[in-house]
Symmetry: C2
Subunit: 306 residues, 2 copies
């Protein structure tokens, strides 16, 4: 076995271990609900259904690259996943994207009804804030900043604004710049909160945090472009052609140009990450491998016929 | 003018001043949105439409009775009102109580659509957590506890559970005990978080916090009974007969018995408050005057015909 192959295998094992740690802790933080407690069951369905766990892994790897002990921050990683899951539950609602499939299963409102879906999302959001607060109980000075980071990422300067822009403006003709801005709000701000929470936990200096902010924005753009390219493919576990009728960069510029843009964002993301993490290579290797794998899947799969 | 009348007038002036302070600060914390930002406009409509501001006043008066400076806790009072407003926006949705009027105006989803209403509620919730975190920046040790209090009040042990029980079980025959338990979750837990946040800010000892916990539960029951008695009256600004088809204590026990129960809860609430606040009479006077006024309005108004 070559050194590189050996390293790749080691990393794969390690990622699986980290993902297991996150999923085990999510199970503990959101214990099984009584049979009649549909909201509790929907909360678990929303967050424990098989997922990529990209944001928790990003938080853990970044924090470790910055010299932080993992044990102390698994809860923060779980909180980020809860917020992400809450946003998916709401985005899928009939009055939003009206999606019926997510992660290969019927969406939460399809399984449990719209009322339960809304209540489950609210429960996940508030649980996330509670977990962040409790996780920083041993470092009280961090609590206010960590909660503030997440509150900003969710609110009218973050996920809420991104979803609104996408709903109201997505169906109209819009410029590439407008799409880039919406993508930053839809995806970039939660990546940003994710790595900034890692930085706060690790006590990183301002210059590092600035590099991480740039990294998160580039990563958000790359991720959203990947998501747009994947629409129409059958491996995503989501409804096919969910973007039909929506102005995306793929529709505007074509898949080839979007591929090139995606590569440019990844290169830029990697440069900023290198500035932030110095010798720490965990996050850089993970990001590269993750995008290569996703892009390879796209290249093999043919788009599903419309 | 008698001493009592003079005292009553002084208190009325003071309450108006406190309410103004809360509303001015809410205006600052949620500044006017751009014309095209419907979510920002809906956020303001949800929280700035004329309201009783019962929870913020309760927080401010309790904290002052416990010896706390008001200036430092107005933001906490605003955060409680934001959470309350978010819960009303969601409770009114078509998939929940399907209400069309609230505070004398069309409900938020009727004005702006369901998608915007959901996003506005999420924005209000996350802003509330951010405001709590920022408000405790000068006393970092409090941040984690304050955020934790609110997270618990909202989640599957609080408002979410109360709303779910009311939706799913309200239409069935249920026992008085089951209704009392639902009322505790629907109303008591947010009152509880409200006074506990005041206690944390004031650095109150455990015995005081225990008395406040009992007070909040009694108050929650009294408040929900008042709300049930008021259903069918036209002065509430809400849809009339919203409870039609729902098992309430009024339907189960009759209005007279509910009146007696309400009085008993108020007496008990006052006793616990007296234990908590010692010489501090502000909250006790406010609660007594507030309920007397509401009950007097009910006595004058005849229920609207069905």
């Amino acid at each position: 076995m070559t050194a590189t192959a050996h390293q790749a295998l080691e990393q794969a094992d390690e990622l699986l271990a980290l993902r297991d740690a996150v999923e085990r802790r999510l199970e503990e933080l959101l214990p099984p609900a009584a049979e009649q407690d549909l909201v509790g069951i929907a909360v678990r369905e929303g967050v424990l259904a098989p997922g990529k766990r990209l944001r928790p892994l990003l938080l853990l790897l970044t924090a470790r690259d910055l010299g932080c002990e993992l044990a102390s921050i698994v809860d923060l990683a779980c909180a980020v996943e809860m917020v992400h899951a809450a946003s998916l539950v709401l985005d899928d609602m009939p009055c939003m994207d009206n999606a019926r499939m997510r992660r290969g299963r019927p969406t939460v409102h399809c399984q449990f009804g719209e009322d339960v879906a809304i209540l489950a999302a609210v429960a996940l959001l508030s649980r996330a804030f509670g977990v962040i607060a409790a996780a920083s109980a041993h470092a009280p000075a961090c609590a206010a900043e960590l909660v503030g980071q997440m509150a900003t990422a969710v609110g009218t300067q973050g996920l809420v604004a991104g979803q609104y822009q996408d709903l109201r403006e997505g169906a109209r003709a819009r410029s590439a710049e407008a799409i880039v801005q919406t993508n930053a709000l839809k995806t970039g701000v939660l990546f940003s909160a994710t790595v900034q929470m890692a930085a706060v936990a690790a006590g990183a200096v301002p210059a590092v945090r600035e590099s991480l902010a740039h990294f998160a924005l580039e990563l958000g753009q790359a991720f959203q472009l990947l998501d747009d390219l994947a629409d129409g493919h059958t491996h995503t576990g989501k409804d096919c052609h969910q973007d039909a009728g929506k102005t995306t960069l793929v529709a505007l510029l074509g898949a080839d140009t979007v591929h090139q843009r995606l590569r440019a964002h990844l290169r830029s993301a990697d440069r900023h990450l290198a500035c932030a993490c110095g010798d720490g290579m965990g996050t850089r290797r993970f990001m590269q491998a993750w995008f290569e794998q996703q892009l390879a899947t796209l290249a093999v799969q043919r788009p599903a016929p419309r």
